[in-house]
Amino acid sequence: MKRYITSLILIIALVSSCTDDYLQVENKGSLTVENWYNTADDFQAALNSAYIPMMENGMFALDMTLTFGTFEDRTLFENTGRDRFSTMYPSSGDASNTWGSLYFGVYRTSKLLSMLNEKGVDGIEGMTAGNFDYIAAQARALRGMYYFYLTIIFDRPILYDENSLPDNYSAVYSNANQSDLWNQIEKDFTDAYPDLKLRSGLDDAEFGRVTSGAAMAQLAKSLLYKHYYYYERFGLAGSDEDIADLTKARDYFKQVIDSHEYALIQPQAPKTRKDYLYAILCNSSFVDLPSENNIYDSENNIESVWEVQFGDDQAYQNNPWLNGYFSGGALNEQYFSPHEASYRNHEAHPAMYYAFETEGAPAPFDRDPRCYASFYFDGDLMDFNPNSDYYIPFKSGLNSKKVAQMRGLTLPAGTQSLGVKKTHFPVYWDGPLAPSNDPVNKRVIRYADVLLMYAEVMYLTGDDGSGLDALNQVRRRVDMPDISALTTQAIIHERDVELAFEDHRWFDLVRWSFSLEWGIDWSQIDWGIDANNSVNPFTKNKNEFLPIPLSEINVNDGALKQNPGW
């Protein structure tokens, strides 16, 4: 009996000792934040992840086209919902995807900058002063980009930086002032560009990183936008600050132009039809385009100023439909391309076709050659390569979708619809299904856009002739005759035709609409919606911006105000 009790006591003593240590287990699955941010490699990995939000569905992978590309008047979405803005409401996924993607960017860049500040060059294993500044500059430029889109999309989003990083989950945040947002954008780019590399200074492996030219172009673009989104909108146009900002915009654009880092891709002699088209299309293609005698560089070519990179791996997974969120790239191909198995959600509005000039078009064209780079007509080959499965003619009405026709719009003779050719030439995937990822890099700013924005800022500040010349440079590439005077109409038209389907049109319309001078009359914009829905879907002082996602309004407990009208 006694020995039982003794042994029992022993057993208990044995098993009950040190149970607190017993309960400690290691996390074998994940790194934790506490034991990271130590080496230069850690910071490089963090920087790389700060580029990802650009590639997210909420941004350039999908929503830039799916949302803003369908809001504009040059595309028809297969059903009228998106054309009518009716798929956009405070709880809709599009709003929160875009918001979320952009704040991934803002947070990662700000966290990175705050950790750089906290550790200092000497506190980071393997870090050099040059690399330290280069990492910080890229982070700043990226953050400037994220805030730029936050501001023009959501008007008054939440503002923070590396010194006010949100870390208390129970805090509530309110809308920033527009002026603070614009100042932040300007500051980020201004701080960034001196430490960034020139395009010509990039290693082959570095393309896709922000360059000083890209940062400067985006800085100038931001200042130009600020003129409309801020000064014009709030009746401050013409103020000293406005003039000063426009002057800065002009100088930055000029600096980009004068750097000779960028150029328009010109059709090469002998200029065949293909040379004209490919000189344009190479700026939205994923493979170099060979004409009869020449080859046109595509991704990261000399015309590209800011380009979001999407991998060319054919990330082909179990479910080829709606997959491939991160790794490879965008889903535009799957939604919009003329691929047999694409949803073909987009069709071009015939009005876009008629916007291209006929007069002065170079032979063999009857119309501005850019027209034929913009659309597929029935019968157009969808690849240049005879060995491709898509070396076949474009055919209207796949899946019974002939949207323009259904809506009673007048199409050019010989085609039953206008397919969107830009970014979809050649059709990427030879297989029977649309791919799960899209290899096409997204050109956010290309040099032609820089020239046109320069022309616009010159128009606003008083042209010395260089603005007109910049615009005419864009026309001369396709041998369209020069225009003689820089007017709002000329700028509107040139941006419309040059940048068709490149997701600029919506923001152009919105920003010009803040200024009476540009004559944007929303009631006259033709979205091409059908007879059943003839009411103009646009509500002024509402549809210029997206609603702030309802979930954000909710968690910020009344402090964050919804945009008007939503």
Binding site: K28, S96, G208
Partner: protein
């Protein structure tokens, strides 16, 4: 001499009674009260009678050496040799199972009579009566306070809720304790192996499991050998088949073509050529008017079978029970299947005077083949114009939107997409082609050593292991089905395995001092678990007949894997005291630590107290009808530690989720960032406080047993992923967790059993009712999913949507065509659209007009039934029902509405014939137009249905072979039966089945019928044999 001889002769005459001799007698109970209605039979014959109101009987004997057999429900059967007597009086005693029933509770047992907590007990008989797959399904309706919901997939999981839903982010599943060991998978146990199941419902009972007890504790005790020295061999088997319970009334091919031709015409679009009579006649292989009935195509003929074998034997020193079970079930859906093999060996040995050792060992292998359940929904949307098969396609099935060369009546050759605008899957191909298998193996074993140095002290140590391994292998060979083609074969394999080792050391002190009885239990319980997993995806197999990973093109193989471990430690003490078995008190306290808890909250303490008073022993002694009236009160605290590991750490994403590319050759760059979990070092168990009031009443010689409980279970500190602003750069669905939610479940439970007999008819009746009021007391902010909201003052996961008033008519527009009511933000509605209520009176219909419009948690569940025994026949019925739960029927929504997205989907025939048109202004059916600018399909009351149902779960008739048939073949008992399950369902619900969608989804999204596997009707026959 002669008188002696005479006496002998007389005696022998009596001993060898004359055929036809009468025997009479009286049957009384232990209190010498006459027992009427007792069944009296002469063993081995069919002769029998029953006692009258005075307890007397009279029989004629016509066999030698007669033995009388007395039986009466609730009493121990009695056999009495006549031994020549003419008068045989007997006394019968109440069956031990009523008075001395022992209930297994946590870390011990207690006489049922002496229970102070709320414990539901389900017996082997109840579990095995209905021929079902597993324990969860068998428990449904048999345990008040436990709500079991299931779907119809073979071996499919069930939702198992003890007293409501008390967790939001974690499955509020009870914990399972199998033969004293926490863990294991109750659905891998053969129901026939179970001797009893105890469900600890209130905290006073469950608090003994501390941080694991908040969602209830299910204690399963398996059969052990008896010590009677009689070997028992049992065999049982059943086989049956399942049938689809219901079909939607869809358009046939003619109706479909006609419908879409009209819709296209309405929208000024030329309809696809595929919808023309000529094309259809030319294309369709079969009755082109009817087309394909996809709902039937996806079904298969099926069979369910079960074989169970058990041998048990034992004596005073040792005993064993060994069993084997094979169960297999085909689903009604093609390619759904499960089978299960169980082996079990339990034994006990006495070693000398003080020591006893024993073991419980069970091995399980389960195989499941799961197909694409979405097929239930796909079968509704695919065009009936499409052929089922196409031998020219890889895989053999027809696909949508295949361009076929068709020569029209004018002689032109046209390429026409075979299905017009319909681009859905071939539902049959999609279920028949993939081969998805899921294997899971389980080993659950414990060995105990019990040392009893004195009669009042016991020490038991129990090491245990709970090991599992799962392997899934999903293979889809390349196939062509038009636009839904899979151009490359894919293989996905997952392996995961884990072990949980346990060590339990327990002391029991059991002592009586006069009328004071004490049982003191002290336990140390340690657990340590590890798990590991590997997942491999591979695609493109040049030789698809070799579907192993190594045969995939190497570039197309990706692998992931992980590893983890966890630990738990607990110390507990419990005192059970009673005075004269009249006043009973139980107190317990448990201290629990877990590696899941944050470093600042590693340990929690969980106390409980309960008290019971047998009122009848103080006040109602003279009321003979009342055998027991016991009042119970209990209070306790428990927790839920199943909160996932490492939620206290802020972790970085796995690199696999990132790969930006840079450079002219677009090379992936390594990237990492904090994105995943946001840590909270204070993270701890979810806590529950429970109060329970109850009483048990046994009356009329224990024929009536009634008990009732009222409980309030407040669960607080629920771990919620606090929705944080996305400006924190965290992944939206992996937000930080904090112990902040607060939920209350309260309800009544009633359980009534009655057994009696009239004449030769024995019967038992039972009924029970469980109410649950689930209310969210506080959440930091509403948790909104696509359809559900968890918000204060409502049930978890209530439906959140618009109130649809009615269908808009032309009279709702003024002469200018202006709509007279609030306009949706999306744009002006048209006649035939749904009118939504402007709840916030802002003059427009927007997201702000949403409100709670239903809930997927029933107000109450109930069941009732009975068993009748007449001679060798038995018959039983069992009804189960729920009341006041809603289901969002997205299938009906899709079938009774049209928008551009589901253009060319098949629709309800009824809707197609009755939808709103100016000529036919319906008030029940919305219009059919490709342009649904009003968003009629949004979640509104229009599509939420009352899913209350009452179901005939089981109806059964059995026949036990008479003893005289069996004597000669050496069988003890043979029973055959036929059973029909789910034959009738009374419900207003329009879908396939109201229960399946209620069983699915996580706690915050119950009751959405998107494509739930309906519970089939089934017919089963079975046999039970004891040797």
């Amino acid at each position: 001499m002669f008188p002696v001889l005479l006496a002998l002769l007389f005696q022998s005459l009596l001993a060898q009674p004359v055929i036809g001799q009468a025997v009479t007698g009286m049957v009384t109970d232990e209190n010498n009260q006459p027992l009427p209605g007792v069944n009296v039979t002469v063993s081995g014959t069919t002769t029998g009678t029953i006692t009258d109101v005075r307890g007397t009987y009279s029989l004629r004997i016509n066999v030698p050496d007669p033995v009388l057999r007395f039986s009466f429900v609730g009493y121990k059967p009695l056999e009495e040799p006549v031994n020549g007597r003419a008068v045989v009086d007997v006394k019968m005693y109440l069956e031990a199972s009523v008075l001395d029933d022992v209930v297994v509770i946590g870390y011990g047992t207690v006489k049922k009579d002496d229970l102070t907590g709320s414990v539901a007990v389900v017996t082997n008989e109840e579990l095995t009566r209905t021929p079902v797959a597993n324990l969860s399904k068998a428990i449904q309706g048999h345990a008040p306070g436990v709500v079991v919901m299931q779907n119809g997939s073979p071996g499919g999981d069930v939702s198992f809720r003890v007293r409501g839903i008390g967790s939001i982010n974690f499955e509020p599943n009870p914990i399972y304790v199998i033969d004293g060991v926490v863990g294991g998978d109750i659905n891998s146990i053969s129901p026939q192996d179970i001797s009893s199941v105890s469900i600890l419902k209130d905290a006073s009972a469950a608090a003994i499991y501390g941080a694991n007890g908040a969602n209830g504790v299910i204690i399963v005790t398996t059969k052990r050998g008896s010590n009677t020295g009689k070997m028992k061999v049992s065999l049982s088997s059943f086989a049956g088949t399942h049938l689809q319970p219901k079909y939607y009334n869809l358009m046939n091919a003619d109706q479909y073509a006609d419908f879409y031709n009209k819709v296209y015409e309405l929208n000024n679009v030329t309809p696809p050529l595929a919808y023309s009579d000529d094309f259809r006649k030319w294309y369709y292989n079969g009755d082109w008017h009817k087309g394909t009935d996809w709902q039937k195509e996806i079904l298969q003929k099926n069979i369910t079978q079960n074989y169970y074998f058990n041998v048990a034997d034992g004596n005073e020193r040792s005993n064993y029970s060994i069993s084997a079970n094979y169960y297999s079930e085909d689903g009604i859906l093609i390619n759904t299947f499960t089978d299960r093999v169980n082996l079990r060996a339990n034994s006990d040995f006495k070693l000398g005077k003080f020591v006893k050792v024993g073991e419980s060992l069970s091995l399980t292998r389960r195989k499941t083949r799961n197909s694409n359940w979405d097929a239930w929904g796909m079968a509704l949307e695919t065009s009936p114009l499409m052929n089922v098969y196409n031998p020219e396609n890889n895989g053999g099935y027809e696909g949508t939107q295949i361009g076929v060369d068709y020569i029209n009546p004018q002689g032109d050759t046209l390429t026409v997409p075979n299905t017009g605008g319909n681009d859905k899957y071939n539902p049959k191909g999609i279920v028949a082609l993939p081969n998805n298998r899921d294997y899971s193996d389980g080993l659950l074993a414990n060995v105990y050593v019990e040392i009893k140095p004195a009669s009042w002290i016991t020490f038991t140590t129990t090491p245990s292991i709970d090991a599992y391994s799962n392997h899934t292998k999903d293979w889809t060979e390349q196939y062509d089905m038009g636009v839904r083609t899979i151009p490359a074969s894919t293989l996905s394999e997952d392996y995961s395995s884990g072990n949980a080792y346990g060590l339990k050391n327990q002391f029991d002190f059991n002592k009586e001092f006069g009328n004071h009885s004490f049982v003191l239990t002290a336990v140390q319980d340690l657990r340590y678990g590890t798990n590991t997993s590997v997942n491999v995806d591979a695609s493109v197999f040049p030789y698809p007949q070799l579907n192993v990973i190594s045969q995939a093109v190497p570039d197309n193989v990706t692998a992931t894997g992980g590893e983890g471990e966890w630990k738990e430690a607990a110390y507990l003490a419990r005192l059970m005291y009673n005075y004269n078995s009249k006043y009973l008190v139980t107190m317990s306290i448990r201290r629990d630590g877990s590696s899941n808890f944050g470093p600042k909250k590693r340990w929690g303490t969980f106390p409980s107290f309960s008290f019971a008073w047998k009122v009848n022993e103080d006040f109602l002694q003279n009321v003979q009808q009342i055998n027991m009236l016991k009042l119970r009160f209990g209070w306790g605290q428990t927790g839920n530690s199943n909160i996932g590991g490492f939620r206290y750490q802020t972790t970085l994403a796995e690199p696999i989720h990132f790969s930006p590319v840079f450079g002219l050759d677009q090379t992936e760059a390594y990237a990492l960032n904090e994105l995943w979990t946001a840590g909270n070092p204070y993270v701890k168990w979810e806590a529950a406080d429970m109060l329970n009031f109850g009483f048990d009443l046994n009356a009329f010689r224990n024929r009536i047993q009634f008990s009732s409980d009222y409980y309030i279970k407040s669960q607080y500190g629920l771990l919620l992923e606090v929705p944080i602003s996305r400006i924190y750069g965290k992944w939206a669905d992996v937000a930080p967790v904090m112990n902040i939610g607060d939920i209350r479940n309260s309800g009544f439970e009633f359980d009534l059993k009655y057994s009696d007999m009239e004449g030769e008819l024995n019967y038992k009746l039972f009924a029970n009712l469980t109410t649950v009021k689930n209310e969210v007391i506080s959440v930091p902010s509403d948790i909104l999913t696509d359809n559900n909201i968890t918000t204060e003052g409502h049930s978890i996961g209530s439906f959140y949507g618009f109130v649809a008033e009615r269908i808009i008519q032309e009279s709702d527009f003024d002469a200018n065509g202006d709509y007279l009511y609030p306009v949706p933000s999306e744009g002006k509605p048209s006649p035939g659209d749904l009118m939504f209520r402007d709840l916030n009176h802002d003059g427009q219909i927007s997201d702000l007009d949403r409100t709670v419009i239903g809930k997927g948690i029933p107000d109450f569940t109930y069941s009732f039934g009975g068993e009748v025994y007449y001679r060798n026949f038995d018959f039983s019925v069992f009804f189960y029902g729920i009341q006041n739960a809603d289901v969002y029927n997205t299938l009906r929504r899709d079938l009774e509405s049209l928008e551009a997205q589901d253009r060319d989907h098949n629709k309800s025939a009824n809707w197609a014939a009755n939808y709103w048109t100016p000529e036919r202004p319906s008030t029940e059916y919305v219009r059919a137009d490709l342009n649904d600018s009003n968003r009629n399909t949004r979640l509104s009351t229009w599509w939420v249905e009352d899913a209350s149902f009452l179901r005939l779960k089981d109806i059964q008739i059995g026949f036990s072979f008479p003893d005289r048939w069996l004597e000669h073949v050496g069988l003890g008992r043979v029973r055959v039966y036929a059973s029909g399950m789910n034959l009738l369902t009374f419900t207003k619900y329009d879908g396939y089945d109201p229960e399946a969608p209620l069983s699915e989804g996580d706690p915050t999204t119950p009751g959405v019928d998107a494509s739930s596997y309906p519970i089939p009707r089934s017919f089963t026959g079975g046999i039970q044999i004891d040797f």
